[in-house]
Amino acid sequence: MGNISELEVLLRPPAMDMPVYPPKAITLASGETMVVRQVAREEVPTLLEAIYPLLWVERDFYDIVAARLFGELLAYKRYRVKDEYVLVGLIDGVLAGMVNGRLVDEKTGMSYHTLTIRRGLRVGSHLFAAKMEYHIEHCQQEEVLIVAESPIGFRRWMIEYPLEKKFEVQHEMGGVPSWLLPKDVYYAAKPRLVAGHRPISDELMKSSATIILPEEETVVRQVAGEKEEQQ
């Protein structure tokens, strides 16, 4: 941490020791390989750049997801959130999606957001599952608190896993009653929802060392699910 002022120390939330998410490789339906790995604070500005144009996409609540994710990532970069982590999915180094969350305490994790850029290949499902894997298997937590901001997310996570109600806890995402993924439910769902293999080759490691952003237009088009019309 080096030289930080006493006041800054007070402003930063206390931090717990967090294990690094060991990178993994997943072969997608297209045959392409997606590397899932954790990002460092220095990489956050690159992700912010990818999110920025989505702040105005109303469809499927992407605007609110993007705005909150932007704030969460900024808070992570500038030490204004407790124990946050960010995972990305990269295909040939190109950003396909990202997920984030934080540790509430040793026992409980909190899932923040899932943003898919490359559509149609279950990238979002793979990344969400990687996030649960991180909380339960790598951080050895007992449970993860989850909410959804879009109907798609609701159906996917709440019913697919399936999650349990923990409505007495307000989630940080707007105080919405929380849902819960307990450890045993995670392990029961793991075979059909968590994929990939480790360790990844040096070659893959190298090709995913730097995050390459798709063009802004491509991001908006893919996320909003639109393509240029032609006649």
Binding site: T27, A29, S30, G120, R122, L193, E228, E229, Q230, Q231
Partner: protein, 393 residues
Amino acid sequence: MKPVYIAGAGMTQFGRSEWTLMQLASVASLAALHHANLGDIRVDGVVVANMGAARVNRQTALGSALVDQLALYPATAESVENGPASGASAVKIGVQAIASGMADVVLVTGVERMRVVNGLEGTDFVASLSHPEAEYIYGVTLPALAGMFARLFMDKFGVERKHLAMVAIKNHENAAKNPYAHIQQTVTMEGILTLPEAAVNNPPIAEPLHMFDCCPVSDGAASLVLVSEDVAAKLGGPKVRVAGIGQATDTHAVHEREDPTDLKSVRIAAKTAFDRAGLKPQDVDVVELHDAFTILEIAESEASGFFPRGEGHKALERGETRLDGALPINPSGGLKAKGHPVGATGVAQLVELVWQLRGECDARQVKDAKVAYACNFGGFGNNVVASVLQREA
């Protein structure tokens, strides 16, 4: 009956659209009208095919609305709702108008904008075509009917999941060559079936059918300009004739069919269409089938008369239905990858075939195609329209 020709064909990109229903319909219609290059020849009638607008878009009387968009008054106008067979039904009605001498030029446009609701509501709206008391109340959806059909069909004829995957791989590959296709992403056998990751990449939708066995939910529109022989002669250019259309129905509840694996309505519709055309399945060069589910491409390829019963998957395995095979099926990518805006589909199948017969399909062009066939499969096979098109010199 007087002969009927297709002078123009156009469509929008399929996928998810921000355009309104009428914008989609107008763009496809104008593309077809420009393709036909009618000059000062008047459009006598408009037929619009659509399934869900009353429920999903809160709009009715689409025929009149499209006439207004295109300022074609006082042309006649009709709307056709006939489930997933709406598209080819509308074409049939347009063909009848010209064949009877009541019209010389009819514009037929199929349109659907269903991505405006979430997937669950979309699934439920399509499910409303099932039998209300004997099927729908049990939670039956179209994937459910397809899943039960697939289980029985696969068990009976030794079709395996790898065959279904072959349909998906082929049609995704074709769609990647079609700029109008919803999905332009190829898939691999490893990624959707054989690797451990496939369990997550390709989750079950209605066992034994998985995600990559099912078509996407799409917005889009497709349009054809039908003309009489006189008008076709005036226009000059390539002549594509509607050689024959056949249609047949079957029981509403799938369980009432004597043999639920027998697509009787497809058999009858295809035979009628071929008889009217004076042609045989062996004469066909290019085919568009209604592969809302991969299993249907295999089953329809048999019921339409291209392969003996139980042999469709073997022809597929031998590569005969690939773009470079002896009988290319779904060069457009099919519903599976081109997309399935329900009411537009039957029209879009014929748009592809018109382009194929005119040699306008670039990378996915089937060489020297002269005779083409389409099967538009409505309900779960309780209303099927088959069409045969023929290129004349």
